[in-house]
Symmetry: C2
Amino acid sequence: MYTSILQNISKHISLDKEEADYFMGLIRFKEVPRKALILREGQACNYLSYILLGAFRVYYVDEHLREITVKFAIADSWVTDMHCFLNDKPANLYIEAIDESCIYQVSATNLEKLLHHVPKFERFFRILSQYAYTREQFRNIENLSLSAEERYNSFLETYPRITQVATQKQIASYLGITPEFLSVLRKEKTLRRIS
Amino acid sequence: MYTSILQNISKHISLDKEEADYFMGLIRFKEVPRKALILREGQACNYLSYILLGAFRVYYVDEHLREITVKFAIADSWVTDMHCFLNDKPANLYIEAIDESCIYQVSATNLEKLLHHVPKFERFFRILSQYAYTREQFRNIENLSLSAEERYNSFLETYPRITQVATQKQIASYLGITPEFLSVLRKEKTLRRIS
DNA sequence: CGTCTATTTGAATGTACTCAAAAGCGGTGG
DNA sequence: CCACCGCTTTTGAGTACATTCAAATAGACG
């Protein structure tokens, strides 16, 4: 259903036909194969993407060349390197498809046009940003208060489907632990399930 | 200068006199003594606050009764328990003045009125939320990639003034370490400065 | 089938925690 | 004014959680 992006928007604002058409005229459709990067560090981050289908992983590479998974993004959600998109700076983050994906993209230029022509979208992106903010805040609280094992359990509840497309190495880098230690945690979990 | 809240707003949107007056009519002024709580867990979170003067600490109390400092908020910034303010739920967070403070508060009801009457504020709060989001994301990256010592150094750069009003216990709980260990880090720092 | 990467396993290590006790500091009341 | 109380900070010993490194095993892909 290629209008699911409109349904996503209609969760927070209602558009008439004209506004919807105008919006659809500003976005482009893109298929993204598994493992492809739609953004890499240093590149201009010109697009905000809506994920129609598939899944992405946003990650940062630190000075020791370790990957930090910043977030997993699933179907019916939005993704970009927000800091660099907003401030027109070279990207700090990589965004990689971890499954066959289809996305719609709005360029920063077109987003400006959109916000100018249909100011209702200010409201839409306000609400989106507020949710994004509270989710990040919640994750910070979890990272600061929970043990690795508790964070892993919370992860499994929050992203039950992601385990099918993300590797354990990627999940470990989201949890802030090594793949080896995640392996140990998983073993303990299955041992407890048996006994 | 009691119009600094208008200056804060004018960083992102411009208001005419009428709009500014309408806004000022929707907010209330409040003095908050040091150590007073303007929000505690379980309370209704009805207000979004602008800090005119002073400093606040937002914290969460986990199941082991440990305090997690979610953020320090300084003069000329906004603070609330966003999740509960937006969803009209009882607060999860405490907000405590760590210095003599003066704030302006907008109630959730008045904010709705404001957004309805002056839709430009949708834009203002969109921009504010996006910044809040990227800051939280950045902090998550730091917490996942840096050692305790590196996080402490980064903290000192980000909040140079806060050390004057926050205790080390509070700073430790922001960094996700124990006060005892922060004490060790500080000692190592001074020892290195001497040699 | 062979190569490359992901995952598992284990031993040695390190970073940060717990617990306990002492020292420092600020506020309050006699 | 100072003596006491409570809280913060420091210090140290012992411990736990998670890492590093290395090697073996398993899986995925061409």
